[in-house]
C-alpha cells in the first residue's frame, strides 16, 4: 500500500454541507459518516452497559461468599455482559469504523446501499433493548452463558426468547452491513485503487465481511433450532426427545471461533494503519499482511472444536484441532513481526493512538500466547472453564479489539470532528487503561492455574487475594473509560482546529480531505496513481 499519490483536484472542492437537521437527520440519514457516528455512539452506550455489569460481577467477587447478588442473577449478569460486549459493543464499533473510513479510504462517495446502511444500524437499538429488557422478563435474563448451550437454554424462561430474537436481529444487521461493505469495496473503489493498493484496514474489513456472511447465518440457524426446541416441539438439541446437545456446541463454535476473528481483524487493520503513521515508515510486508489476514480467516474455520476438548472426541480429532489451532500462530506471528519491523528504525513519536497501538501489540501477543497454551489438549482439559480462559480471552478482546478501537478513535478524531483531542487526557486514558487492565486480568491467570472455576459467584477462600486485586483493577479500568468520553466531548466542544493531515506519516486518502471531512466526499472519484 504505502503512500497513494492521487489527483488532489478531484473530489471534494465542490462538496457541499447540505443535510437535514435535528433528530430526523439521524433517523433518516443515509450518509456513511452519520451512520458511522451512530454506530460508534451506540457501541459506547452498550460498552458502558456491559461494563456496568462487569463492575457488578467484580463487586460480587471482591470477597468470597455471597455479597451483593443472588447466584441466579450473577449468572444472568455474566451471560448478558458477554452478549452485550460482543454483539452490542465490539461488533458495532468495528462497523462504525468501517462506515466512517472505508468509503473515504477507497475514494468512494458513500456506501453502496445507503438505505440498507440506515436500516442495518436502526435494527441494533431494538436488539439492544431486547437484550437489556430481558432482565425485566419473568424469570429474568438468560443465564446459560453467552454460548447459550442447551439444555439450560432450552429450559430457561422468556428472557431466552428475547435473547434469541435479539441475536436474529443483530445477525440480520450484520449480514446487511457486510453485504454493503463488500459491495462498496469491490465495486466503488476510485480509479487506480487496485485491491493490492487498498489500505490494510479496508482489506481486513473485506475479509471480516466475508466471515460474517459465512457464519452469521449458521448462528441464526442454530438459535432458530433452539427456538423451535423451546416452543414447537422439535428435538434438535433436546436429549429428552432424542436430540443432541453436543451438536449445538459444534454448530455454535463453528460460528463462535470465526467470530473471535470478526472482532479482531478490523482491530488488526486499525493498528496496521496507525503504526506506519507514527513510525513514519510504510507498513512492512504489506502483501504478507494481506495473505496473513486471509490465512487467519480461513484457518479460523478449522479450529472450532478446541473449545470442546472436554466434551469428548477421538484422539485424532483432538490432535487435528490442536495442531490447526497452533497453525494460526504462524500468520498471526507474521503480523506481529511486520508491526515490529515497521517500527524498527522508524522516526517514532508516541501520541495517544500510537500508545494504544503498541499496548495492543504487547497485550494481544500475550493473549495469543495463552491461546497457544490452551490449544494443547491436556493443558486445556485441566484449565477448561477456569479463570485462565477468562484471562486469555479478555487479553485478546479487551486489550486486543478495544485498545485498537481506542487507537482508531484518537487517530481519526481530528478528521471526524475537525478538532484535535487533548493529548494529556488521551495519555492519561491510555496509561490508566493499560495499568488497570493488567491489574484486573493478569491475576486471573494465577486464579485459573490454581483451579478457580469461571461463572461462579462464590469461591474458596484461598482465591481471595487475587480476586481482591482483580476487582480493584476492574473498578479502576471501568472508571478510566470515562476519560474517553471526556476526551471526545472536549474535542468536539473546544478542541484546537485540526489541520487536514495532523499526522506526518498518514498517507491514506482520507487525509487529503479537509478536517472535518465534508458531509459529502469524493463525489468525483479521485484518481489514485
Amino acid at each position: 500500500m504505502s503512500s497513494i499519490p492521487h489527483d488532489h483536484a478531484a473530489g471534494h472542492e465542490h462538496a457541499h454541507e447540505h443535510h437535514p437537521g435535528g433528530i430526523m437527520r439521524w433517523i433518516m440519514t443515509t450518509n456513511h459518516k452519520d451512520i458511522g457516528t451512530l454506530y460508534l455512539w451506540f457501541s459506547f452506550i452498550m460498552f458502558i452497559a456491559g461494563g456496568s455489569m462487569a463492575m457488578l460481577i467484580r463487586a460480587e467477587l471482591f470477597q468470597p461468599g455471597l455479597q451483593l447478588v443472588e447466584p441466579e442473577f450473577f449468572n444472568q449478569l455474566n451471560t448478558v455482559h458477554g452478549l452485550i460486549m460482543i454483539f452490542g459493543a465490539i461488533m458495532p464499533a468495528a462497523v462504525g469504523f468501517a462506515n466512517w473510513q472505508v468509503p473515504m479510504m477507497i475514494g468512494a462517495p458513500d456506501m453502496a446501499f445507503g438505505r440498507l446502511n440506515n436500516w442495518s444500524f436502526w435494527l441494533l437499538p431494538f436488539a439492544g433493548l431486547l437484550l437489556l429488557g430481558s432482565f425485566l422478563s419473568p424469570g429474568g435474563a438468560p443465564s446459560a452463558g453467552w454460548t447459550l448451550y442447551p439444555p439450560l437454554s432450552v429450559q430457561t424462561g422468556m428472557g431466552m426468547d428475547m435473547t434469541i430474537f435479539a441475536v436474529h436481529i443483530m445477525g440480520a444487521s450484520s449480514i446487511m452491513g457486510s453485504i454493503n461493505i463488500i459491495t462498496t469495496i469491490l465495486n466503488m473503489r476510485a480509479p487506480g485503487m487496485t485491491l493490492m493498493k487498498m489500505p490494510l484496514f479496508v482489506w481486513t474489513w473485506l475479509i471480516t465481511a466475508y466471515l460474517l456472511i459465512a457464519v452469521m447465518p449458521v448462528l441464526a440457524g442454530s438459535v432458530t433450532m433452539l427456538l423451535t426446541d423451546r416452543h414447537f416441539g422439535t428435538s434438535f438439541f433436546n436429549a429428552a426427545g432424542g436430540g443432541d446437545p453436543v451438536l449445538f456446541q459444534h454448530v455454535f463454535w463453528f460460528f463462535g471461533h470465526p467470530e473471535v476473528y470478526i472482532m479482531i481483524l478490523p482491530a488488526f487493520g486499525i493498528v496496521s494503519t496507525v503504526i506506519p503513521a507514527f513510525a513514519r515508515k510504510p507498513l512492512f510486508g504489506y502483501a504478507s499482511m494481506v495473505y496473513a489476514t486471509a490465512s487467519i480467516a480461513i484457518l479460523s474455520f478449522l479450529v472450532w472444536a478446541h473449545h470442546m476438548f472436554t466434551v469428548g472426541m477421538p484422539a485424532a480429532g483432538q490432535l487435528f484441532f490442536m495442531y490447526a489451532t497452533m497453525l494460526i500462530a504462524v500468520p498471526t506471528g507474521v503480523k506481529v513481526f511486520n508491526w515490529l519491523a515497521t517500527m524498527w528504525k522508524g522516526s517514532m513519536t508516541f501520541e495517544t493512538p500510537m500508545l494504544f497501538a503498541i499496548g495492543f501489540i504487547f497485550l494481544f501477543t500475550m493473549g495469543g500466547f495463552t491461546g497457544l497454551v490452551l490449544a494443547i489438549v491436556p493443558v486445556d482439559i485441566s484449565l477448561h472453564d477456569t479463570y485462565y480462559v477468562v484471562a486469555h480471552f479478555h487479553y485478546v478482546l479487551v486489550a486486543g479489539s478495544l485498545f485498537a478501537f481506542f487507537a482508531g478513535i484518537y487517530y481519526w478524531l481530528p478528521k471526524w470532528t475537525g478538532r484535535m483531542y487533548d493529548e494529556t487526557l488521551g495519555k492519561w486514558h491510555f496509561w490508566l487503561s493499560f495499568i488497570f487492565f493488567n491489574v484486573t486480568f493478569f491475576p486471573m491467570h494465577f486464579l485459573g492455574l490454581a483451579g478457580m472455576p469461571r461463572r461462579v459467584p462464590d469461591y474458596a477462600t484461598q482465591f481471595t487475594d487475587w480476586n481482591v486485586v482483580a476487582s480493584i483493577g476492574a473498578f479502576g479500568f471501568g472508571l478510566s473509560q470515562f476519560l474517553l468520553l471526556v476526551a471526545v466531548l472536549k474535542t468536539i466542544r473546544s478542541g484546537a482546529p485540526a489541520p487536514a493531515r495532523p499526522w506526518d506519516g498518514a498517507d491514506t486518502l482520507e487525509w487529503t480531505l479537509p478536517s472535518p471531512a465534508p458531509y459529502h466526499t469524493f463525489e468525483t472519484p479521485p484518481v489514485v496513481k
Binding site: I179, N180, T183, L186, N187, T194
Partner: protein, 70 residues
C-alpha cells in the same frame, strides 16, 4: 467486481453483488436446519461446513493478490 464510474452500471453491479451474497447467506441459514432432516445429518452438516469453507476460500482467494484490476 469491476468498479464503474457510470451510475447505472454501478448500481446494477452493486445489486448483482448484493443478491449473490444474500443468496449465499440464505443457503447457509436454511442449510443448517435442513441438514438435520436428511437421512445422514452428520454428512449433510459436513457438506454444509465444507460449502461455507469453500465460499470463504473462493471469495477471499479470488481477490487476494490481484494487482492489476482497478
Amino acid at each position: 467486481m469491476q468498479p464503474d464510474i457510470g451510475m447505472r452500471p454501478r448500481r446494477a453491479a452493486n445489486l448483482r453483488t448484493a443478491t449473490i451474497l444474500l443468496s449465499i447467506a440464505a443457503v447457509f441459514f436454511g442449510g443448517i436446519i435442513v441438514a438435520q432432516y436428511s437421512d445422514a445429518p452428520e454428512v449433510a452438516i459436513g457438506v454444509l461446513g465444507l460449502a461455507v469453507l469453500g465460499f470463504l476460500v473462493i471469495s477471499i482467494g479470488r481477490n487476494v493478490g490481484r494487482r492489476g484490476r482497478r
